[in-house]
Symmetry: D2
Subunit: 143 residues, 4 copies
Amino acid sequence: MRAVPEAPMLQGLFSGFAAQLGLSLREYQQSQTVIAITVAPHHLNQAGNLHGGVIASIADTAMGMSGTWHSDPAQWRLALTLSLNINYMASTPPDTEVRAVARTRGGGAKIFMASCDLLDADDRLLASAEGVFKRGRLRNDRR
Amino acid sequence: MRAVPEAPMLQGLFSGFAAQLGLSLREYQQSQTVIAITVAPHHLNQAGNLHGGVIASIADTAMGMSGTWHSDPAQWRLALTLSLNINYMASTPPDTEVRAVARTRGGGAKIFMASCDLLDADDRLLASAEGVFKRGRLRNDRR
Amino acid sequence: MRAVPEAPMLQGLFSGFAAQLGLSLREYQQSQTVIAITVAPHHLNQAGNLHGGVIASIADTAMGMSGTWHSDPAQWRLALTLSLNINYMASTPPDTEVRAVARTRGGGAKIFMASCDLLDADDRLLASAEGVFKRGRLRNDRR
Amino acid sequence: MRAVPEAPMLQGLFSGFAAQLGLSLREYQQSQTVIAITVAPHHLNQAGNLHGGVIASIADTAMGMSGTWHSDPAQWRLALTLSLNINYMASTPPDTEVRAVARTRGGGAKIFMASCDLLDADDRLLASAEGVFKRGRLRNDRR
């Protein structure tokens, strides 16, 4: 079963770059965050496959969200990426549905580490990522 | 002085994702590759700054191009990213002009390593990146 | 149950730096490679905890071995590291028994990607690592 | 010209693992930190070249020191590594003198980012590294 928070809470979770990419939140829980994307023409590199930068963007977003999750959505925070590492295992053709499955692995009150697997619909591993992030201001604190 | 190859050779260098991002090639030489982007609303994260995934995308593109440069444009190849690492030093607000300055650092016939600095117009370091890439097929080999 | 190859096959697996570190092979199978070390005074940093370089060394060794495993020990190969990334979650005090649990995640005939978790005796995550490696010559090919 | 602090200030800079490795401080300034090592039998991997873990250890140490330098040695701090990435360009045979040249690239009061080139006596690039670190307690605060 997949748990997605109520719609109003999710409004604005993906704006700007994440919205243009077409990210879709599939799961947002303490244990893991899952973000999906279907590979479209505007995601491709010159070889006709998914651009590595899109993989990096989904992984960055999913890991950042995973470490700023809270049981109370009013306590959701923004994440600042300090370091991001991605290893690419396989080329990803158009129309693939890619899922980024991110988990928080450790850290303290301000800094956290997360990892992320990028999978296709057959659970083939396309890429793996890990990163170090900083918890920033509350999402609701509009300045 | 900045050297940019003749326009016909550059056609199609940025398609798909790179075109949508709005990447602009400023320099493409053996010594270094420079790609620029001006931070627009569709590049932003939830904090209102440049999304880390955009930084990763520019760095990935610039480093991949740097290691597949050739004095004869007919010999330009596509690059496959094996590993990408980015460290983020500073938040980048809207309207910033970001330059990715990439250089090939080593490797052999098939595999190469590159590094990249991401700078603003005042040469402030926004992020640094390094990656491992594989030289793929010739760009002109349309399959 | 832990499977360790017969003693004669293991002779010389850890020489030079790995031998000086005091690495101990706990498991060497297709599914995973486990290397252990007990933190001694010569492993410490200035803060009195396990030096990050030791963590990197164990992770590098375990991941390299994981991707060059073969059911026939005569086919074991050496691994060349192309890229190594480590995230550090927790300080590790003296006398801790550290286990590096490495798995191959993907790749092709020559290049492979692996990941590794560094755990203490209570399965607390001390660090995570991922890397890109190249399969080299057979271990038995003494030049 | 190379500036090395007075001998009494350097006492204890390399203890434990760094001392066993045989690290030698060549330069310690605001602009850069240089640490050298001559490749000995106890630094080798199974292929008879410098173990990747030694490269990681020198880079980690040099980058950590670079970001905790202070004009007043009483203000030198210990560094905690959060993330470390190394790309390996070339095999390093025995007897090579390896220099790690580290520079701080950015960050704030607590967190800093550094990069490091690993070079041989002919300035051939053996490896490059970058990392994220946290400034810890003063070196002189013996607990």
